[in-house]
């Protein structure tokens, strides 16, 4: 079992500690001074996961909507980071990511308007904003 776990996590360790011990912190510091595309993608992934966790754990339907906004925003960050990277490689489709991000923002605005309309209608009928109490579609 231990051997298996060791094998499973070897890639993580090797990523973190590629250099011998004395150069470890220096390498991390050197990489942190020059953030690249992967750092932006990691920030996007973290924001996305925080949004997913919010959707899965909160009971307040308005906070769930806010978490969905976080998820869409993380997707936008990824689009723009990749767009910048493609600009550096001289790709012809370099601004496609920015154009797509405009549409993501449009969809987010429409989704927020409709969702909050539903929240108001629900609150008027059920007097609650807790998602576990809104079960009128259950058979």
């Amino acid at each position: 079992m231990h051997i298996f776990l060791l094998k499973l996590f070897t890639p993580f360790f090797s990523l973190l500690f590629q250099e011998p011990a004395q150069g470890r912190m220096a390498l991390v510091w050197e990489r942190a001074q020059h953030p690249d595309l992967s750092k932006f993608l990691i920030i996007g992934a973290l924001l996305f996961i925080i949004g997913v966790a919010g959707v899965l754990t909160r009971r307040n339907i308005i906070v769930i909507f806010m978490s969905i906004e976080l998820i869409l925003n993380a997707a936008n960050l990824n689009f723009l980071a990749m767009s910048r990277y493609l600009q550096e490689t001289g790709s012809v489709n370099a601004v496609a990511g920015q154009i797509f991000a405009v549409f993501v923002i449009v969809v987010a605005a429409a989704e927020a308007a409709i969702g909050l309309g539903i929240v108001i209608a629900l609150y008027r009928n059920k007097e609650t904003i807790w998602v576990d109490e809104i079960d009128i579609l259950k058979w």
């Binding site: 308005i62 906070v63 976080l70 925003n73 601004v95």
Partner: protein, 227 residues
């Protein structure tokens, strides 16, 4: 794309601010606090957009999200009553088993994503290193030739021009579809948020439903009689 100097400093400041504000959005007890933390997260991400040289999108993010969507959120929060939540009488998270499961799942997803991103980015870098080195010289000369701004302190980038060009050249059909979507959203939210009284005023509700509701609200029947 490798940032250095002040760009790197601002990258770390704004990304850490964005992540902490996002965490507090999810964890705040008061919904108003959640909304305000979400606003600061969105502003930090807009700053990241500027670091990514997407100035137009940064402006749109602040105008649409912070100026429009978040104000809508704040209005709705103030319309619905969340007094119990603020006083700490209601549990804000789901049952603990659900929370544990989802947090474990999210942790695994984070670990997997970071690992995959690191490995994938190394491969991408190896593939594109030659192209980036070749185009970076061209980009530097192109940046030198940009027009100076009115004060002369900075240069006017072409980013917004590219986005506009691309939007109307390659994205004109989605653009029109998006405008129809917004129209549908406006009409839909107006329809959803109407009260029964407003529905009765335009004679849009079945008579028996109206009579049933009139037990609580006699005004509804009067409204019917006057019509």
């Amino acid at each position: 794309m490798i940032l250095s100097g002040w760009e790197a400093v601002f990258f770390w400041v704004f990304s850490i601010a964005a992540i902490f504000a996002a965490l507090l959005t999810v964890m705040a007890r008061n919904t108003i606090h959640s909304a305000l933390f979400l606003i600061s997260s969105l502003v930090s991400v807009a700053a990241l957009f500027i670091i990514l040289q997407a100035e137009f999108l940064a402006g749109v993010q602040i105008l649409v999200y912070v100026g429009g969507v978040m104000v809508l959120f704040l209005f709705v929060i103030m319309l619905v009553n969340v007094g119990e939540e603020e006083r700490g009488q209601e549990e804000i998270f789901n049952r603990s088993r659900q929370v544990t499961t989802s947090v474990i799942f999210c942790g695994l997803l984070v670990a997997g994503l970071i690992y995959a991103l690191n490995v994938g980015y190394d491969g991408l870098q190896k593939r594109d290193a030659a192209t980036i080195a070749k185009t970076s010289a061209d980009r530097q000369t192109a940046d030198q030739n940009l027009n100076a701004s009115a004060t002369g302190a900075s240069k006017i980038t072409k980013g917004t021009e590219w986005v506009g060009n691309g939007l109307y050249r390659f994205g004109s059909l989605p653009f029109e579809v998006a405008s129809v979507l917004l129209l549908v959203a406006i009409i839909g939210s107006v329809m959803l948020a109407r009260t029964l009284k407003q529905e009765a005023a335009v004679d849009d509700v079945a008579p028996d439903v109206l009579e049933k509701q009139a037990i609580d609200d006699p005004e509804l029947l009067e409204m019917k009689a006057t019509e």
